[in-house]
């Protein structure tokens, strides 16, 4: 069953420089109990997609078009009150990047879990506290620590406490925004495993937002690659890892150490993400793409389906077999870097 279906989502920000098209026509779908990774560089719009779902946009941002269907209902049409009562935390919970900052520093963690439980249900305080303790146990934290303040936790433990908070109301969907970037690699790994286990145990769907290819490759069923406010490639994890078709995905793959191809030397994609102010015609990745042709500059590529529900948005998608090995070479990107510098 489709839990979340995003259609042609467009989110824009009003700024002094003009309108920023942060999310510019995104389509996504997610089944219950499925996990989806959204990957992209910072500024690509990946976080805005997540925030658009729960409508936590800053004052100057708004969803201008598109639908976010949750369990069949378009929740962009919900009133603030409806969204607050029915969706937020009941259905969709959020795990922030830095758990330590996600807690209010002046209340104990237990109190904050109790607060969210009592805000949404009629549970008495003591029962809610019991629930908090059992959640702590589930996450492997000593249950007495519910009475501790956030600053008394270590980073990893705070992250686990945050997950406990997220699970407080048995949500159907967890949105984790770079949940482990702030942690060191060992703890990062343990937490990712824990999240995966819990997701299986609790039948929860999950959206994982990250810039780190290796994180999603281990945890997610599907991966959406975001660039310039659009999903440039969407496929199951295996396809994205092994046979990506978009040059950007290929570039991203090069930027991270891969378990599968550990002999590669790492190289990042040259250039910077595009400004999202009133985008022109043409592929937004073209300026940084080593494979850009003339039409890439003039025509905006459209999303093409392939395989089992996968999509790709690239004029040269058909040539992927030929491009892929080229893109694996670091020289390809280094040359592109020189081109970009020459242009400046």
């Amino acid at each position: 069953m489709t839990l979340l279906e995003i259609t042609d989502l467009q989110t824009q920000f009003e700024t002094s420089e003009g309108r920023v098209h942060a999310v510019d026509g995104v389509n996504l779908s997610l089944e219950a109990n499925e996990s989806l990774g959204i990957i992209g560089e910072s500024g690509s719009g990946k976080t805005t997609i997540a925030k658009s779902i729960v409508r936590l946009l800053p004052d100057n941002g708004e969803i201008v078009d598109g639908e976010v269907r949750y369990d069949g209902d378009d929740i962009t049409e919900y009133s603030d009150r409806q969204l607050r009562k029915q969706i937020r935390w009941n259905e969709i919970a959020v795990i922030p990047q830095n758990a330590m900052n996600g807690f209010d520093p002046v209340y104990t963690v237990g109190d904050q879990i109790v607060e969210v439980i009592t805000a949404h249900t009629d549970t008495p305080n003591d029962e809610a506290m019991e629930r908090a303790k059992s959640l702590f146990q589930t996450l492997g934290i000593d249950e007495d620590r519910v009475h501790d303040y956030p600053h008394q936790f270590s980073g990893g433990m705070a992250q686990r406490a945050m997950i406990a908070l997220a699970l407080a109301l048995d949500p159907s969907l967890l949105i984790a925004d770079e949940p482990t970037t702030a942690l060191d690699v060992m703890i990062q790994d343990r937490i990712l495993h824990r999240i995966q286990e819990l997701q299986d145990e609790l039948d929860t769907a999950m959206i994982f937002i990250t810039h780190d290819m290796s994180v999603v490759s281990e945890t997610c069923d599907k991966i959406a690659v975001v660039y310039g406010g659009r999903i440039v490639e969407f496929a199951d994890t295996e396809t994205i890892i092994k046979n990506p078709r978009h040059p950007y995905t290929l570039g991203l793959r090069n930027a991270f150490p891969s378990i599968m191809t550990d002999d590669q030397d790492l190289v990042s994609i040259p250039g910077t993400p595009p400004p999202l102010l009133e985008p022109d015609e043409g592929c937004r990745f073209a300026p940084r793409c080593p494979f850009a042709e003339e039409r890439c500059w003039s025509e905006t590529p459209q999303s093409e389906p392939y395989g089992d529900g996968n999509t790709i948005e690239c004029h040269r998608a058909d040539e992927h077999e030929r491009i892929r090995p080229e893109a694996s070479k670091s020289e390809t990107w280094r040359e592109q870097e020189e081109v970009i510098e020459a242009d400046d």
Binding site: R84, R88, W89, V94, P96, G102, F103, H120
Partner: protein, 324 residues
Amino acid sequence: MSFQSYVIRRIGQVIVTYWAFLTILFVLFRVVPGDPVSMHVQDLGAEAREERIAELGLDQPLYVQYVEYLRQLARADLGQSMIYNESVWNIIVVKFWNTIILMAASLILAYAIGILGGALLAWYRGTAFEKGGIVLTLLARSSPEFWTGIVLLGVFVFWLGLFPVGGMRSIGSELATGVGRYLSWDFVYHAVLPALTGAIYFLGTPALLMRNSMLDVLNADFIEIKKAEGLHPWNVLYKHAVRNSILPLVTIAAIAVGMAIGGSVVIETVFNWPGMGRAMVDAVNNNDYQLAMAAFFLMGSVVILMNFVADLLYVYLDPRVTYE
């Protein structure tokens, strides 16, 4: 360091501060020109003058007077007023409460409006409301109390005739004792304008500080999480944003109490309020050392005490603070 040893160390510091404060007080009032009888030099003969000065102990060497002064204070004895020839304590205690009540009303009003207003200014950041609010706040902060008082007098008393010109109760009305004096409508009627004057002057600081502090807090991740949790927005604003933003105001509020008590003389003068500030200025003018010192002493004590309380409160309110 444990909380206890922190408190003990702070108490030690407070005692040192206190002693220094008392010494400064003593020195100040011994170098003030004239003596308590000089005001009435034309009513007293030279002999009577000498006699009175001796009677007041002012012919003693300074160090003897100093020791005597500390011994008196240690016995909680504020001495005799040299002009009123009565125990200073009896004179000052009523005035002390008159001032405290007035200033408490002003401060509570100022901090309630200031905190609420400051929070709203931050919440509605970038709007015309915010801009207007800031201008008004700075205007209030730029008006000396006596000016605000005069303006309020002009508008509400001389022009509209809504409130009395001054005083704390109607002349010749039944005199209540103790708390009773503050529990009548007549008192409230007399207190409105002076309290308002103080409130207007004091509210700038909490409002602006609250706004700045709120802006910091509103940018914090946890506010977004609290919103994502589906908590009611007012809940997010007051239980989380305001609660966190208020911390830096605690210290400021304590200092403000001191400032208010010390500055009360201005409002008391404009509104003819029988408070400690006015008593202190009158006493200085009359060279009534004991009375002026007692008023000064009480004001300073309030300030020292409030600073101490602020430190402890801060530690209590913010679990992150360590006792350094």
